[in-house]
Structures are given as C-alpha cells and as structure tokens.
Symmetry: C3
Subunit: 139 residues, 3 copies
C-alpha cells in the first residue's frame, strides 16, 4: 500500500466552463510506480471550482451552463457587496456541487460508465490557472 | 492495509427512483477477508445515477422526486436535441448530487447516524440494470 | 500505511448554520501518530447536515442561507406530514450537498486553496449537538 500525489494544471475561462479531465487522470494513473488498485481523490485548490462526472458532449455542456444560470444566477449577493468581485454566485455553485471527487480503479484502469467522463467545472467569473490535486491510495 | 473490490447490482425504474442500499453495503463489509477499519467509496457506473444519504422513509422519498421535478424539470434541453433520448434533466440532476460517496467504518461496522441510510437515486427516464462499485480500503 | 479515526463535536443552531472546521481538522491531522501523507474523509452522523468547502466570510455565509431558502424553502413536505418535525427541507438540502467530504494532505498539511475553508452546514430546524467522524488513511 502506498500514497502517490500528482497534479493537473488547467487554463479555464470561467462562467461554468466544463473541462473533461478523464484522459489526464488516466494518464497519471498509468504512470504511477507503486499503485495499480485503489482510489483517487481529485480536489480543486480554490473555492469557485467543482468536480463531478457527466456525459461530456456539447449539448449537455450548454445545459450545465443554463441550469446554473437559472438556479443560481449572477447578481447581487452579500459576498459581492463585501469584496466587489461579483462572483458570489460562483462560490455558491461550487460549494453545492463540491470540490472533491473520489473514484475507484483496478489494474491501473478507472472504473467508469461508457458515457461517463470526469469533469472540472470552473464557476468563477473570469479566466483562471487552476491546480487540481490527485491523491492516489492503493497497492 | 489492503484494497478489496465488491459490486452491487440493482434493477431500477428511473424518474428519481430511490434505493436504500445500506443493508447490501453492510453485508459486503462484513464479508471482507482483510479489512475491518477504513473507508468504502461507492460509485455508480453511469452518468444518470447518484449516491448520497438520507432518512429513508416514504414521505421523504416522494419529496426527493418532487424537489427535482421543481428545480430541474423534464423538458427541452440541448442534450435531448442532440440525442433524442429525453433525459437531459437526468444528467443534470446526477451531476449535481454526484456519482460517488465515501463512508468510514470501524470493526466492520459503517459509521452512520441512527436515521441515516445510504441511497442510490436513479434519475434516468427509464428502467435500468445498474452496477455499483464498492472500493474498500483499510486494514 | 494505517487508519486513524478522530471525532469533532459541534454545537449548532440549525437553519443553514455554517461552521468553519478547518482549524479543528488541521489540529487532528497534526496530532496523528502514524500518518503524514494521505486523505481524510469527514462525515456527519445524521441526515440533516452536510460538508463542503467555501470561502468562509460573513457575506457568503448569509448567501448560503439565502440561496437554500430560495431553492428549497421551509414549507409543506411529505416528510413533515409523516413526522410532524417540520424539517423536510433540511433533509433535502443535506442530501443534495452531501454528508461526506474527502481531502488530501501531505507532510501533515491539508492541501486547500488560500481562500478555501472546510465547512459543516447544519440544515436542521433546531439546535443540535453534532458528531463528525474523521477517517484518516495514509502513511
């Protein structure tokens, strides 16, 4: 059993910008020295991004943007009045979806559905350079 | 320390069909050969199902169906226009609740509240045969 | 590799009461005997509380209360008609945000963003004494 830490760096545009990171996670998994079976916990360093899975296709990526604009629209939040950065809605969306995703793997392969991709959603209201932490634990 | 992988198979009806899987997870945990203390990560293979906990009783199961019909109703989504399968709302709901749940256990017993059950919600718009992966890690 | 279990006890007021527990989690991590690198899974025992991260500042704490009052308001739910405790909305909110959060750490330090705190949200409609379980796994 061992722990191995890897990082993924992303340039994002914000406003519910959806990135499919399945390939990058799989590549890090295949490159591990000590671990073939276990779990990976993927976390974003920051409070306006979130991790989950979806069927990554252009229609659904638009739907994700639309549903969050409907449920938690940009606008006047207490957070904005304190800081003036206008991203109160970004914080709320990210906290509800969550900053962390844990997935299983066996024989160095992620266990996912056929139409299921790992996505990072950047909810901030501007471009960002993002760092994701991948903590692999297993044997 | 070890990793042990188990599976649960479910037949579901869709439309926010809520299944209490606490007993099945506990049974798999009790049957493990190497692990008594650790965590289990439960994941659905597929992008229209989700895992969380709730007090599993018939009133709340109806409330779960109602709140998602209100917040993310079935209807016209970009995903449906591309694929014609009419389950855009299922995907959005599943991505927001999340496909993964991690829970602790000690002495082969899950640590949960008295009125807290592990639930799988099938948000798809049809019957499905579902596979859940249980990745146990511990000692 | 090892597993170590710790607990945090909180007195909460309910109604989307947000607690920053980052300091307490960090303190438990620093006090571990066997583990410096790994993950911690934090879980609430109970079905009306939830865990996530956010930028913990007073404006956003109010925004969290407001957005849940808007999206899942207190009111008449099937759960309330069965039990008469009036907290159907608390259950729904908690199930959607989720009862579990998993975070990575290296060299006994949590890996978080600068403005990212670990929060427990008590969605119940009354004061509670809460127990959170911290399951640390690593080496």
């Amino acid at each position: 059993m061992a722990v191995e830490t890897e990082y993924i760096h992303l340039s994002t545009r914000g406003h519910a910008d959806v990135h499919d990171i399945t390939g990058q996670v799989a590549q890090k998994l295949e490159g591990l020295k000590k671990i073939k079976d276990g779990i990976v916990t993927i976390n974003v360093c920051g409070s306006t991004g979130a991790l989950t899975t979806c069927e990554y296709e252009s229609g659904l990526v638009e739907d994700i943007r639309d549903i969050f604009n409907k449920l938690i629209p940009p606008g006047q939040y207490q957070h904005d009045q304190a800081w003036g950065d206008g991203n109160g809605h970004s914080h709320l969306r990210a906290s509800i979806v969550g900053p962390s995703l844990t997935l299983p793997f066996n024989n160095s392969c992620l266990i996912l559905g056929t139409w299921q991709q790992i996505i990072f959603i950047d909810f901030d209201n501007r471009s960002r350079d993002r760092k994701l932490v991948l903590q692999f634990i297993g044997e």
